[in-house]
């Protein structure tokens, strides 16, 4: 018997199985399965996401200096996060305990560019169709083209914000993709004055549009407060990095874990020995592990990472506009918005605003043009790098042998941290919206809305044509497909 309601049906035999399945392009895939009884009541709801099982094997045996480039090929959507987390871990291996100011600021600039473009893409392209048109609205409108038709300025801003973030990455990483900007111990290039000035030209517009995006999410909450407050909402413990003074810091900090009521589990813990705080549980029904806080055990120790955690559980945001928006978010609806699953979207836009502000500030710092790029020290055999990636805390851990080859690698990606929390969210939605109803595409989309709030990173590094991105099948107790919904192919 599972400790978690709806994780495992008491009597699964005879129940109907509904599968919401983004079919794999060429590798693993995520899917949701629902077991329904004869009265259309949900008896079991599970989200399965295939992990990047070959990560470690792919990295092991490589010379350590190749790793920051190789890991970008693990994930096509957040290569910069893997690039920087790997470099942070390998800084320790080369003994660079403190980077030069130029190196750290260039890496931060790259990271904020990544956060900006990722959050812009998620909100404007993926989530805004649901939020602007409604979760159960006509599927034909729920896409970026539908948004562009109804709200052309919003769609255009989304595209240009994304493009700007990519330009920041291109200038700091050296290339549009497969960048090499960060290396163990520092960076291999600084910005030229011309590159800095080119980025400066548009940065104020990016700050303004980011602020508009925060306000847009607020208006969406105001228009349908009950839905936004309650949709898939649950109480969760949290984990994130925070700066020594408690500020939100997406690049570096100590680990902070809190109970749902905000009381401390641990704070400012050095992540060098993260395994003393975090362990991972395997469940037979999922390929993806379930991390938990060791101090609380596997049943009570699950937690949530990502934008909603970072914005609500840091003491302040160190840029003024984002911090003002954070305080308004925390106060809105007596604090309930900041506890809601759809609050992820609001928090994500606050982080986008913070990133735009941070980019603006860095572009006015002459250290970006400096020539002191590398640090070093006594060679170490092991290194751990942790970064707050767009989707949450990302851990890279390497052991390097005497031949400079990676002997062991361990990665815990953001989506893995959120595995249990996402499962809780879909169960909450299933209970509220699907129980007792005949399943429709609109209702099934409610499940996906809950998943999308977390912005999970499915296996995305490969892209090939000829597969359907999403299929939904309703299967009866004998295993016969009685109904199916298939979305357009790529």
């Amino acid at each position: 018997m599972s400790a978690f309601p709806l994780e495992t049906a008491a009597r699964p035999e005879g129940l109907r199985r509904v599968v919401i399945e983004p079919v794999s392009r060429v590798e693993g895939h995520g899917k949701v399965t629902l077991l329904m009884d004869e009265d259309d009541h949900v008896q079991q709801a599970r989200l399965h996401i295939v992990e990047f099982r070959a990560f470690e094997k792919f990295i092991q045996g490589r010379p350590y200096w190749e790793v920051p480039v190789m890991v970008q090929r693990l994930c096509g959507i957040c290569p910069v996060s893997h690039h920087l987390a790997a470099c942070k871990a390998l800084d320790q291996v080369v003994g660079a305990t403190t980077l030069t100011p130029t190196a750290e600021k260039l890496r931060r600039l790259m990271h904020y560019g990544q956060i900006l473009q990722s959050h812009a893409l998620h909100f404007f392209h993926l989530s805004s169709p649901d939020l602007l048109f409604g979760f159960g609205s006509d599927m034909a409108r729920r896409n970026i083209v539908g948004v562009a038709a109804a709200h052309p300025e919003i769609a255009k801003q989304g595209v240009l914000l994304r493009k700007y973030g990519q330009e920041v990455i291109r200038h700091t990483a050296g290339k549009r993709i497969h960048g090499t900007g960060a290396v163990p111990g520092g960076v291999n290039k600084s910005l030229t004055a011309a590159e800095r000035d080119e980025l400066k030209k548009d940065v104020y517009q990016m700050v303004a549009w980011s602020r508009d995006a925060v306000r847009l999410v607020r208006r969406l909450f105001e228009q349908d407060l009950d839905t936004y407050r309650n949709f898939g909402t649950f109480e969760a413990r949290t984990l994130s990095l925070v700066r020594a003074d408690g500020a939100m810091d997406l690049y570096h900090g100590g680990l902070r874990a809190q109970h749902a009521d905000g009381t401390t589990i641990f704070d400012h813990v050095n992540y060098d020995h993260y395994w003393e705080q975090i362990s991972e549980e395997v469940k037979a029904w999922s390929y993806m592990k379930f991390p938990y806080l060791k101090a609380l055990g596997s049943e009570d120790g699950w937690y949530r990472v990502g934008p909603l955690t970072r914005v609500t559980r840091s003491d302040f945001i160190p840029t003024p506009l984002a911090d003002r928006e954070r305080r308004e978010f925390l106060a809105f609806d007596d604090g309930l918005a900041a506890r809601s699953t759809l609050g992820f979207h609001w928090a994500r836009m606050i982080e986008m605003l913070h990133s735009a502000e941070a980019i603006k500030d860095l572009l006015h710092d002459d250290d970006l043009l400096g020539s002191d790029l590398m640090a070093g020290g006594e060679r170490q055999a092991r290194g751990v790098g942790v970064i707050e990636a767009p989707r949450g805390t990302l851990i890279h851990h390497y052991r390097v042998d005497e031949n400079d080859q990676v002997a062991r690698a361990n990665l815990i990606v953001s989506t893995t941290h959120n595995n249990h929390a996402m499962n809780i969210a879909i169960r909450e939605v299933a209970k509220k919206y699907l129980n007792g109803h005949k399943l429709t595409e609109g209702l099934l989309n409610h499940i996906e809305v809950a998943v999308r709030a977390f912005d999970p990173c499915l296996s995305c590094a490969t892209h090939a044509m000829g597969k359907m991105p999403l299929a939904v099948e309703l299967v009866d107790a004998e295993g016969t497909v009685v109904d199916s919904l298939v979305r357009g192919s790529a």
Binding site: P22, R25, V26, E27, F52, A54, F55, K57, F58, M70, R73, L74, G76, I77, P79, L121, H122, F124, H125, L126, M139, A140, R142, N143, I144, V145, G146, A148, A149, P152, A155, K156, G158, V159, L160, R162, K163, Q166, R176, I177, E448, V451, R452, D455, C457, L458, C460, A461, T462, H463, A464, M465, G466, K467, P469, L470, R487, G488, A490
Partner: protein, 152 residues
């Protein structure tokens, strides 16, 4: 008048995932060939901002690996079309074209999809022999399309 090269080739794929490297491999050959009037962009996957890369082009060719698609390759015209996805991680050539039209208010340039059949996409694997053969066939066709003569 745009100063952009009139032909844009957007090659999509991850060079470390077996036959998904077909797109980047063709892009590398095209860059080495340095054909006049042709710009090459390589991406892990298509995204909304690729719509901005289309501005000022006369012809766009999307090159990608396919699974379960015709061998050695399939070449077809692409037109704008909306799509619905569960993820923000990639969009189709048709959605890029549709996004272009919505944000620029003008018709998308003539666009083609060159889909080269792949067989295996495992992380860390090299091209399969079958895909290597498909690549050779596709390379000849790709050069022809880039010549800006009427493609058929």
């Amino acid at each position: 008048m745009s100063d952009q090269p009139p032909v844009l080739v957007i090659a999509v794929g991850n060079p470390s995932r077996g036959d998904d490297a077909l797109g980047p491999e063709l892009a590398a050959r095209l860059e080495a060939a340095a054909l006049p009037g042709v710009e090459v962009i390589t991406e892990f996957q298509l995204q909304v901002e690729n719509a901005l890369d289309l501005v000022g082009r006369e012809r766009v060719v999307f090159v990608d690996a396919g699974t379960g698609t015709p061998a050695p390759f399939d070449l077809h015209r692409a037109g704008p079309a909306a799509e619905f996805l569960h993820t923000s991680h990639a969009i189709s050539p048709e959605a890029v074209l549709a996004t272009y039209e919505k944000i620029t208010g003008s018709a998308a340039p003539e666009s083609w999809v060159l889909c080269v059949r792949g067989e295996s996409f495992e992380l860390g694997d090299a091209l399969t022999p079958a895909a290597a053969g498909h690549l050779e066939a596709a390379w000849l066709r790709l050069r022809e399309i880039c010549a800006l003569e009427p493609a058929t």
